[in-house]
Symmetry: C2
Subunit: 454 residues, 2 copies
């Protein structure tokens, strides 16, 4: 009888593991269980579905259970894993429709249960029209409500809120964003967060309001229990048609409480570089696992769709008998606010100080092409390096020019701990439509090197 691989979770990492494993090994029996009614979709595309850049939600679905069936992978939708028994090698599944509970045995188990939104403890949080954005159903509900609305409140100033804000502003709504920290996108240094804030406020003056250092203490509803007002700690009352919570996510690992699987940061599942957990025969991939940070050399928890795909692929290779090691992550993020790219890799100057590095930084604002070319954009980069090792610790980038081209250049250099003195003379290809003769990212490295050489 063929060995049986059971995969729990249908977002990005689970289906990726299944598909890659099937390509590697025709002989294995592969079953995937998911509590949702669809699988294999791009949650990262949901803001663009809400914005109506993408018209149909189904566009975000990469593969259906029928597609998987053709690859001899059995997908079981609406089936939630509620327990695992590592000794008897079984998982307990609840059928979300019939409520039946049954056990499934495995030879190899892959946990890919993802993350789930954190619902803050705010008075009247269970009113209608208070949404989270994680699943396609969430996206459909928000879009439907948006099309009948004039104003919305977003709680939390992370990437998802920025992306949802673009969607709502583009559709004519007035948006208020409420952030409890001193600035939105709190992983950025304050100077950069301020530039981002200025851009957002300047893009559609009067249509967006950003409240920082502000917490929501209650929601007020109407006679139909629909949210009508948001009340803040400082006493503000904000009228709204709906609310989107962007207050973070946590690993979907509650069902592992009491199991003997080792957990890590934020109750994510502890995995090594091969995606093996603390138990032989059990792998974990995607948003439910911890991550090794290549800049800080510490374990962290950063759920990302791209990481989920790489981890799924890596786990599949190892399950199939190959060798794949996933080195780790750098907290790499990028997003768009209309014409503006916002990106950050590694750690900020502030975090570098907190972690005991001796950071130095350079901020450059430059055209992204030769200055005499038409249609140039502007980019601002903040490069951060360590005085002791001369290695790069992080970069923040914003602007309407080609930010990501520069950001991507830094990533392999962080991985390889390339010294500034080499990085600053890197042979980036030059032609006037693509960059100045000395690229801004090299220019930033030159400035830091000069600072630490003096």
């Amino acid at each position: 009888m063929s060995e049986k691989v059971v995969i729990i979770g249908g977002g990005a990492a689970g289906p990726k593991t299944a598909a890659k494993l099937r390509r590697e090994r025709k002989d294995l029996k592969i079953d995937l269980y998911t509590q949702e009614d669809i699988i294999s979709y791009s949650a990262c595309g949901l803001p663009y579905f809400i914005e109506n850049i993408i018209q149909k939600a189904e566009t975000l679905i990469m593969r259906t259970p029928e597609d998987f069936k053709k690859q001899n992978i059995d997908v079981h939708t609406n089936q939630k894993c509620i327990n695992i028994d590592t000794r008897n090698k079984t998982v307990t599944i609840e059928d979300m429709i019939s409520q039946n509970i049954y056990d499934v045995s495995y030879d190899v188990l892959v946990i890919a249960t993802g993350a789930t939104p954190i619902i803050p403890n705010i008075r009247n949080i269970d009113l209608k029209n208070i949404f989270t954005l994680r699943t396609i159903q969430d996206g459909v509900k928000i879009k439907e409500k948006m099309l009948q609305s004039k104003k919305a409140v977003l709680i939390g100033g992370g990437y998802i809120s920025i992306e949802v804000m673009e969607a709502l502003v583009h559709n004519g709504l007035h948006v208020t964003l409420i952030e409890k920290n001193k600035h939105i996108l709190s992983m950025f240094d304050e100077d950069f967060a301020q530039t981002i804030t200025d851009h957002i406020l300047g893009h559609t003056p009067g249509q967006v309001n950003i409240l920082t250092n502000e917490e929501v203490v209650a929601f007020l509803g109407n006679e139909n229990d629909e949210v009508e007002k948001v009340i803040t700690a400082s006493g503000k009352e904000i009228e709204t048609d709906f609310v989107v919570l962007g207050t973070g996510v946590r690993p979907n690992t509650d069902f592992l409480q009491g199991s003997d699987l080792k957990l890590s940061v934020n109750n994510s599942i502890k995995v090594g570089h091969t995606m093996r957990t603390s138990k032989i025969g059990i792998f974990a991939v995607g948003d439910c696992t911890d991550n090794f940070n290549l800049v800080t050399n510490r374990y962290t928890w950063v759920p990302m769709g791209s990481t989920a795909n790489k981890e799924g692929r890596c786990a599949a290779i190892n399950i199939a008998g190959g060798i794949c090691s996933f080195d780790g992550i750098m907290n790499s993020t990028i997003t768009k606010y209309f014409d503006y790219t916002i990106s950050m890799i590694g750690i900020s100057y502030k975090e570098a100080l907190e972690l005991g590095f001796q950071p130095e930084y350079a901020i450059v604002t430059k055209r992204d092409k030769a200055g005499y070319m038409p249609n140039t954009g502007t980019i601002t980069l903040k490069l951060i390096a360590d005085r002791n090792t001369h290695t790069i610790l992080g970069i923040q980038g914003i602007g309407d020019g080609e930010v990501n081209q520069r950001i991507n250049t830094v990533i392999p250099a962080i991985l390889s701990k390339t010294k500034l003195e080499s990085f600053m003379n890197l042979d980036l290809p030059y032609s006037p439509p693509y960059s100045p003769a000395i690229d801004p990212v090299l220019n930033a490295a030159q400035i830091i090197y000069q600072k630490i050489s003096d």
Copy 2:
């Protein structure tokens, strides 16, 4: 008395050296001699001036002699260096206007004489309207002629010819390109060169003609000694209003014949990583120097404006008493043909075989953003790596999508000899408007790694 630095050459490297040196050291006397009547201009921008994307030639001038004077740098235009005497530390200069010849003494000499077009030995090459494109004057002449013309012949299928072709096609001319090799852009592998050719021919059908495996044997002129026809080895007679020679350049080092300065590849000046020549007190920078190739570990000669700027900066730091080492180059190039980006880094598959590597490659053609996003472009990447070391040897990229973002990602990895198994899992930032969840360049690395692991 202050030490005297004499710089010969006014293109990119010489002025860069002068400006950086002045920032580092206020005390030095700096004199720059150039045979041209202007200095510090972007030769790489000339095709865009001809195309009329840039209206005025002066736009390409970065700094004037007057600008330099304000920095206490004396620029001497129309002054050509005809000899150097390393024993007596003098250079002999000829005034191009008065024909006076005089000696100038130096404590430190910087040679930045650049490169000069190769004029092929073809019958009647001295007819009127046969141009090279190197100086602003060249650009002005070609643009003037283009505006009165309907057809042109370009000889040589390198980057400059591709860029000039865009300029002429954009201005409505019919263009014939003649290339003696089997394909244009001969540094590319044949499959990629063919794709580029197909794109160029398909962009404006009937307006462009590309003849490969074809040599020009003669030009025919009219009664005014203006070129009228181009005759090829296979017997073709091509009518034309003018000709642009893109038949390569050579280092401008004739005046060093007989000096005791060590020369290198193609008679370029031998320099080390600090831009010092074989003689103490003499530096050389820019297109007149040799280059260390970081992929092949051999010396080569690849004149590039970006390298010239880096070398000038590096020489200035070392002259000023600092430490700067220029590691080397990777033959990085990029150009544009209308909406199409064409780029290559490192060595081709063919060259890798010739050099004794054991290369493997992957070609991927992908959308440059998440497939469900609107306005995605397509990119085709050919990644080449070595089976023995698992390191990347080169990449070729073409397409209307964000090619350079991917190309730039590879460059630090080549520098650091990052193994494919690390590169393929690189934490590139992901968001649907910027890339698929697994970036095409990582996908290419995954495919090669799979090939060499089997």
